[in-house]
Amino acid sequence: MNINATLIGQLVAFVVFVAFCMKYVWPPLMEAIEKRQKEIADGLANAERGQKELELAQGKATEQLRDAKTQAAEIIEQAKKRASQIVDEETQRGHTEREKIIAQGHTEIEAERNRVKEDLRKQVATLAIMGAEKILAREIDAAAQSDIVEKLVAEL
């Protein structure tokens, strides 16, 4: 159990080992650990930010959906109103048209009747004259009796 030259050898070995560890072992390990710590911290921060953004987006989406629904309801309401309006207008227009067509028919019929009436009158007159001519042919001159015929025609 004596102190001897082994001490020197061990001391040298110790110094060399520590130097090696300090230069080639510790720095790369520490670098990897610290880099990973940073990456994890960044990842957590990113996740939190993503969560917040997601919440925000969800809120916005809900709001937009609500807006869209209200707008759609409004549009439908307007369309309904417009549809009933159009129906009313068309009904109205149909009525007027019918009245107009009926009135026109009436007028045409009236005119036709008047024309036919006139024709008939003329024909009856002619017939009367012919009848009278035939009656009087034997007794009177047609020209002398024409005032009576005229009177008859006017009475018809």
Partner: protein
């Protein structure tokens, strides 16, 4: 195992280092080195400690080379666990920035731990193998082949570590406080009057020197004692098995604890050295 030995010879054999020295007639080993004095080398201590140190450095270096900041492999996770454990202790104790302290603490902890763990290898295994290799390989008497496989039971190693730490204590003291500050710390405390300079100096020197001394002796004492008990247990025949088991289980606690204490005290001493009072 000890059939040809007396018990005391057996114990003595197990507690002797294989040594090597340079004599007038060339390189000599073991008993021939009895008179060699200081220039004797404990080749088993040197070989085991440097070999185990290289294992530690190779393992950590191979992980460090491939270290990725992504998902770590299981090996990398283990190494990072150790590194993180050491780093936590260093940052909790050593205030100030130093690129040396943390790798130093890691080296001390891992190296001392691996060397301590050699204590759990059955006490006869490595000496027997070495004896057989010596006997059949080199034609030596197996009783003359020594193999003390736990390097931390060699005072040379523990003192080498402690002296290394001591030099760092001096270095940090001078770097942080200057030579003047360091001298003042040695002479003007605890009594701040010039009259007390010799008293102060004696007190402070003892305090300073007690640190490496206690570091070295604590590690050596614990490991030497536990190794000695292992050897003693090995001499009592078949009853050694349960005793051996219990003692080994106990040392699962003691061995890492000693490595941890050595590391922790190193950090504390260096932290004290680099702080102004």
């Amino acid at each position: 195992m000890a059939s040809e030995y007396t018990t005391s010879e057996y114990i003595k054999h197990h507690l002797t280092n294989a040594s090597m020295c340079n004599t007038d007639s060339g390189i000599a080993f073991n008993k021939a080195c009895a008179d060699a004095g200081f220039w004797t080398w404990h080749i088993d201590t040197l070989a085991w400690s440097i070999g185990l140190g290289l294992v530690f450095l190779w393992f950590f270096r191979s992980v460090a080379k491939k270290a990725s900041s992504g998902v770590p492999t299981k090996t990398q996770a283990f190494v990072e666990l150790v590194v993180d454990f050491v780093n936590d202790n260093v940052t909790a104790t050593f205030h100030g920035r130093s690129r040396l302290i943390a790798p130093l603490a890691l080296t001390i902890f891992c190296w001392v731990l691996i060397m301590n763990l050699m204590d759990l290898v059955p006490v006869d295994l490595l000496p027997s193998i070495a004896g057989m290799v010596g006997q059949y390989g080199f034609g030596m008497d197996p009783h003359d082949v020594y193999m003390k496989a736990v390097p931390t039971t060699d005072l040379n190693l523990t003192f080498a570590l402690a002296i290394g730490v001591f030099m760092l204590i001096i270095f940090y003291s001078i770097r942080m406080k200057g030579i003047g500050g360091f001298t003042k710390e040695l002479t003007m405390q605890p009594f701040g009057h010039p009259v007390f300079i010799p008293v102060n100096f004696i007190l402070e020197s003892v305090t300073l020197l007690a640190r490496p001394l206690s570091l070295a002796l604590r590690l050596f004492g614990n490991l030497y004692a536990s190794e000695l008990i292992f050897i003693l247990i090995a001499t009592i025949g078949y009853f050694q098995l349960p005793l051996h088991f219990m003692w080994a289980v106990f040392h699962i606690l003691v061995l890492p604890l000693q490595a941890f204490i050595f590391m922790m005290l190193t950090i504390v001493y260096l932290s004290l050295a680099s702080e102004d009072h």
